[in-house]
Symmetry: C2
Subunit: 469 residues, 2 copies
């Protein structure tokens, strides 16, 4: 009997497991099908009735650039709060952040002195740079590609001179954000490295693959153990001209002059803005991150007005389509990403004290508002196969490049742990660094459709994560 | 013995087949690896030493728009020929084509008459359209979405009036080129359809998802059996304004006036330009197609200056890297794609007589110079798996979206047969129809890096096809 019972049991088990084998794919494909329908609704809402473009226009044109401590930065916080209220979010709050304040001052001046000729060139001070002394700095120029080359020079040769870092943004690297990271240290650390050897000022080649007349700003990080010297970025066209003149003439017939009147004031109070739709599991959070501050040049459109608008619009779409999320969907627009990440640090500090809250996922959008390509997924939890299941839904929308690797998002990196899926939204970035941190980062550079497609991709992925986690 | 011999044989066969199973993937991956190295060289040449951007600048800025019969179209042929000579191609020839000549004449004028108010609106005559009578046409307006709606109207209601086709370019369709094909018939056939019911003129909403002030030209195809009436495109913003006024007021208080002075001259001689690198198998051809003609508005940059530059640059890269192709790599820049495809027809007619020549593949690039996404592959020969093998090489370049389906390329569609692989180059087209056939289709709208990446993708695929076919 036992044996026969076992046989029957074994037969039944086989039957059930075979049935399961048949049914599981069906249930998967059924779930996929119903997900596809919701995703289509999200895209339709973003493309046909979206607020992305008009909101971005308001942020860029009615408010403008949003540097730490500026009147605009306060106006922007007020306006975002009002938008969140209008969209009927469950909770809206402001988090006070002590932000550093740096002012560019009057427009910078610079020229090359080549024998008796003076050639004006476009520069801009780097964020946090010192002012030049009254009357500016005029000096011979030492051109180097990188720190290694600088280190090999005779120290006496550098003393009292301007060091010119002319490392190019490598056009052969396909991902522009990778090429950017390869040259970033000349902007971050060039000033201190040159000061170590007695330089009086530093000029860096702007971080862009484009050869044009736009100087690109961005933060300099002074080494506290070293003297601080003024540093500015020069346009790539002028950098090439300066380099050519230095090669053609023998030193010291070529000199450089630059003047900037920037200053660092005492810290002010800025704000992280937080808006959320509460989930059934209120303490399990999906975080959407962007930064509301921007450089003073341009209008902070692609960097990162676009990101703020996209995550705000994600919440509006969720409300509009009547989604009741399982997890709390929380948008945070951080203060001060561009200077010292004080907004992200403050948020992390407070979050660490709320032991009841856990983060299911955190998605950052800070790579511009161009055509969506996909997402970078940083996870120890999800298998490649599970990620590919998500990505397949995005194939018809052209946003299906899901890559499993470490994310770069500067406002969410503190959340890297075993339990949180970190995500960077990846638009096409081929033209991003042409305008990054320049006067050209304006509303006009954002294409309505590309922006809306990006919004839809983000909202759709948030929907899928909320549903499947 | 026999049995034992058979056993040994069977064992040997197994061993061999197992070895093959081990070795084949190696040899495949070895081939893939060496292909990857060559592809990388192609990208480096295009990105670091490319001529694409400066050539496009010359074509757009030193020559300009290249309408059939224009002086510019002749200059462009001469210039391309000179470039081909400079690149040391094996054969360069011109093919005479009788091209239709249509002139826009003095700038079009149009306004809405709303009670006593006159509101100027931007329009442009469609290519091949009739002129309006002296003094223009002033009439009541009948707005319809499509031919079905037109057909349902009372004929007496249409007689003597202007029909306004206001079908929107659907923003919910993700592929803009699909959305374009869905509304194209209002531009191609709207005039004849309205004339059938006695309309005196036609205004069509410009074929673009963007809401702006730019009218978009393009060809009208008159039905020879029906009366010909003048037709113009109106900007989308003005179309929406006109539609709103028509809905708000009762007819006939809203009227429309338009004037255009276009004319059709007798045919002239244009040219297809052909340049090639001869292959070992001289009569087996890989054809690269683009069109050198353009509309008179703008500079014919994205449409299709970019395509011409990319295929020209493909030959330059082949020469520069010293490739000796197995098949003849032939570039054809066709005359008159925009009007009657007379260039493609002439080429096809002559090709049909050269029975010794066969076409391995034909690739067309005529969807703009934006970031590459991949290729549409139209083939009865190649399996999906073989195509995926190609596409895997393009993954790191972001150009790996290889879709097996019918291509749209208007200059190569006559080659659709069992033996030829037809290919459309697919860049990102989200912003393409914002500028398509408008005054904004200028050099400034093309991004250097995106153009060069497109060139490299095309050259790399041509290399792979030549090698593997």
């Amino acid at each position: 009997m036992v044996s026969s019972f076992n046989n029957i049991l074994s037969f039944r088990m086989k039957l059930i497991s075979n049935l399961l084998l048949i049914l599981i794919p069906f249930s998967n494909s059924f779930a996929q099908h119903s997900d596809s329908i919701v995703v289509r609704k999200i895209y339709d809402e973003a493309l046909l009735k979206g607020n992305s473009y008009k909101n971005l226009e308001y942020l860029c044109k009615k408010i403008g650039p949003r540097q730490n401590g500026s009147e605009n930065s306060k106006k922007a916080v007020d306006w975002v709060k009002k938008q969140m209220e209008q969209y009927g979010l469950d909770q809206i709050s402001l988090q006070e952040v002590s932000v550093p304040v740096w002012l560019r001052g009057t427009k910078e001046k610079a020229y090359i002195i080549d024998n008796k000729e003076k050639i004006d060139v476009p520069i801009c001070a780097l964020g946090n740079s010192l002012s030049t002394p009254n009357g500016g700095i005029t000096s011979e120029v030492i051109e180097v590609k990188d720190f290694r080359e600088l280190k090999q020079l005779d120290t006496t040769f550098i003393k009292g001179k301007i060091v010119f870092f002319n490392q190019i943004f490598d056009p052969a690297i396909i991902e522009t954000s990778d090429a950017y990271l390869k040259v970033l240290n000349q902007r971050l650390n060039g000033a201190s490295q040159a000061a170590k050897y007695g330089a009086v000022g530093v000029i860096i080649r702007s971080l862009t693959p484009s050869i044009d007349n736009l100087p690109h700003t961005g933060i300099v990080e002074y080494d506290v153990a070293l003297p601080k010297i003024p540093v500015a970025a020069i346009s790539t066209k002028a950098a090439e001209d300066l380099s050519k003149r230095l090669q053609q003439r023998k030193l010291p017939t070529v000199k450089f002059h630059f003047e900037q009147k920037c200053e660092t004031l005492s810290n002010q109070t800025g704000h992280n803005i937080i808006g959320e739709i509460k989930g059934e599991k209120q303490n399990e959070v999906i975080l959407l991150a962007a930064h509301l501050d921007s450089w003073d040049l341009g209008e902070g459109a692609h960097d990162d007005g676009v990101g703020c608008i996209q995550i705000l619009e994600t919440l509006r779409i969720f409300k509009k389509l009547g989604f009741k999320p399982k997890h709390t969907i929380r948008v945070v627009m951080f203060a001060d990403e561009e200077n010292q990440l004080s907004g992200a640090k403050k948020y992390a500090e407070i979050a660490a004290k709320k032991s009841a809250e856990t983060y299911i996922a955190a998605l950052e959008t800070d790579l511009g508002g161009f055509t969506p390509r996909g997402f970078t997924i940083d996870t120890q939890q999800k298998s490649l196969q599970e990620i590919e299941e998500w990505s397949s839904i995005f194939r018809q929308y052209g946003a299906d490049k899901f890559v499993k690797k470490e994310t770069k998002g500067s406002d969410i990196h503190w959340l890297r742990n075993q339990n949180t899926i970190l995500i960077d939204y990846k638009p096409d970035t081929q033209r991003y660094f042409d305008i990054h941190h320049t006067a050209l980062d304006t509303f006009e550079q954002v294409n309505k459709r590309e922006l809306e497609l990006g919004t839809a991709s983000i909202a759709a992925l948030v929907y899928l994560i909320d549903k499947t986690q």
